[in-house]
């Protein structure tokens, strides 16, 4: 290897005039975190709704949930983001398309919503599996107590199902964070994007990507720890996920 290592590069001013190279990476990290959090909220909301629909007695609801999951799960995320960002505005009426294109921070909203919907399909499938794994008696007991379907889900089925799928949900959250890296394809300069910019400016490619890797690992470590606390906090002694 004939490579000129320079770890001090992070403290040198970046050519954009926005502080040091480290500042550049940190601003990318902040954008990654914002995108991932918004995407995760969207994924949880839509994933829960669709997951519940797939377990309802209604045929129509089940069919809608099925279509949702297959649509968002089967297309590569890269292709989805490209479609939302470049193709969708062209399909709309000209004025609406133009409005969408000139929206400030369009790449951010597209990335957060796009990644969120993609992940919602995965959350939905897990929630469906969680609900299906409950003993059939639970639903019957809820009905016998005089609870409506909504109440049955709210007070009996969902609290149990969510506890069961909490560990896999943690990995979905981690996937959401990592998936935001795809957003550089629509011009969102998040952590991976900033690492690429840094290597283009300085040619210090290994330092840039080492730093990006460490930052991703740190964020994921925080998420894993937080989710472990959450699991312990909601655990019910004597149940599958409790101790």
């Amino acid at each position: 290897m004939n490579y000129n290592w320079n770890w001090k590069i992070f403290f040198e001013p970046n050519p954009m005039g926005t502080g040091t190279y480290l500042d550049m990476l940190l601003s990318g990290l902040w954008l990654t975190i914002k995108t991932a959090l918004l995407a995760w909220i969207i994924a949880l909301i839509f994933g829960s709704i669709v997951g519940v629909m797939r377990t309802l007695p209604s045929k129509a609801a089940d069919w809608f949930g099925f279509c949702w999951v297959e649509f968002f799960r089967n297309m590569p995320l890269l292709v989805q983001l490209f479609l939302w960002f470049f193709v969708l505005p062209e399909l709309l009426p000209k004025a609406a398309g133009l409005w969408l294109k000139q929206l400030p921070n369009a790449p951010f909203w597209t990335a957060a919503i796009g990644v969120g919907l993609f992940m919602s399909a995965r959350v939905a499938v897990q929630l469906q599996a969680g609900i299906s794994s409950l003993p059939r008696g639970q639903k019957m007991a809820a009905t016998a107590l005089g609870l409506t379907t909504v109440q049955g889900y709210r007070y009996v089925l969902l609290p149990m199902a969510f506890r069961i799928i909490l560990p896999p949900l943690t990995s979905e959250f981690l996937n959401t964070i990592k998936n935001t890296a795809v957003a550089i394809t629509i011009g969102l300069i998040e952590l991976t994007g900033q690492a690429r910019s840094m290597q283009e400016f300085s040619f210090q490619v290994f330092e840039a990507f080492t730093a990006a890797t460490i930052l991703y690992l740190l964020v994921n470590a925080v998420v894993v720890t937080a989710m472990r606390f959450l699991e312990r906090w909601v655990a019910i002694p004597g149940y599958i996920s409790g101790k």
């Binding site: 004939n2 490579y3 505005p89 300085s202």
Partner: protein, 303 residues
């Protein structure tokens, strides 16, 4: 016994000496001689510098120059046969592949600047390009000042986006600058009216316009964001022997007038695969540089 030992020492010393004589080649040159092969890094879509033609074979202005360098290296090493290996690179991979010895020369459109010279070396400049912007004729922009408050795109990580950012502050344009992943995407943003202008090296803009659906719809600005900056063939740093050979080869090529001939072949005639003609005559600055080749990263040295 003592004499015998002395004799042994002398023998050993002379062996070391002759070994040293045979090994005066170092670095890249030694490596090329040992393996009988040289590896060129090429870009797949840097038209007309280095790109794939319809046979998936890398061609272009920088490729032609690299083949001339290969001839010179072959002559220098007195080799009968020198195998040329081709390795694709991107802007993200060119440095790691250069550093770990995968490629010996990078034949593309890499800007030679002082920051980058800390990591790699460049041979004599083969092109000069200034930062300008492309816009749709219908948008009626005239000068940089007309970009006030508009959305402008450039490619992330390029010197161009840096110059645009600086101009935005210096001229208080208040333009909304969005970074794009690559040149094609940035141009797509102008094509789809997501941005009114795309700031980039003028020659890259010319090739994007020539390759677009309706080239007549686009105009490249007269106003420039920078002085013409040099492009160079990249090689490993701290390999003086190899650089000397490469520099001599390019200098000979440019001063002999052959450089301009190759230039005209790629910039004034139709180039494959789509038979586009970039119609970009050689600039006065580049003509001067060809007369007096230099590897300086400083734009002020090219008057």
């Amino acid at each position: 016994m003592k004499h015998f030992r002395n004799f042994g020492l002398v023998l050993a010393a002379s062996l070391v000496a002759s070994q040293a004589g045979a090994e005066e080649l170092t670095g890249t040159l030694k490596n090329i001689k040992d393996t009988g092969a040289i590896t060129l890094g090429f870009r797949d879509s840097s038209i007309p510098f280095s790109y794939l033609d319809d046979n998936q074979k890398p061609v272009g202005f920088a490729m032609d120059i690299c083949y001339k360098i290969v001839d010179a290296v072959k002559k220098e090493l007195k080799l009968d046969k020198l195998e040329v290996k081709l390795n694709p690179v991107t802007s993200a991979t060119r440095i790691p592949l250069m550093a770990n010895g995968t490629i010996d020369l990078e034949c593309g459109s890499t800007t030679n600047n002082a920051e980058r010279q800390k990591q790699v070396a460049f041979t004599n400049t083969h092109f000069l390009t200034a930062s300008r912007y492309v816009f749709k004729k219908s948008s009626g922009l005239k000068s940089i000042d007309d970009l006030k408050g508009k959305t402008v795109v450039s490619t992330a990580g390029t010197t161009n986006i840096k110059q645009l950012t600086e101009a935005n502050v210096a001229k208080s344009l208040g333009a909304n600058i969005i970074p794009a992943k690559d040149h094609a995407e940035a141009f797509l943003m102008v094509e789809t009216d997501r941005a009114v202008a795309f700031v980039m090296d003028d020659i890259l803009l010319a090739s994007l316009v020539a390759g677009s659906k309706s080239p007549a719809d686009y105009v490249i600005s007269k106003d420039a964001f920078s002085k013409p900056e040099p492009y160079g063939i990249m090689l490993r740093k701290d390999d003086a022997a190899f650089k000397k050979v490469v520099d001599a080869a390019t200098a000979a090529l440019y001063t002999s007038g052959e450089g301009e001939k190759i230039y005209n072949k790629w910039f004034m005639e139709k180039v494959p695969p789509k038979s586009l003609n970039l119609n970009t005559p050689i600039s006065a600055e580049l003509k001067n540089e060809f007369a007096k080749p230099t590897d300086s990263p400083n734009p002020d040295d090219y008057k």
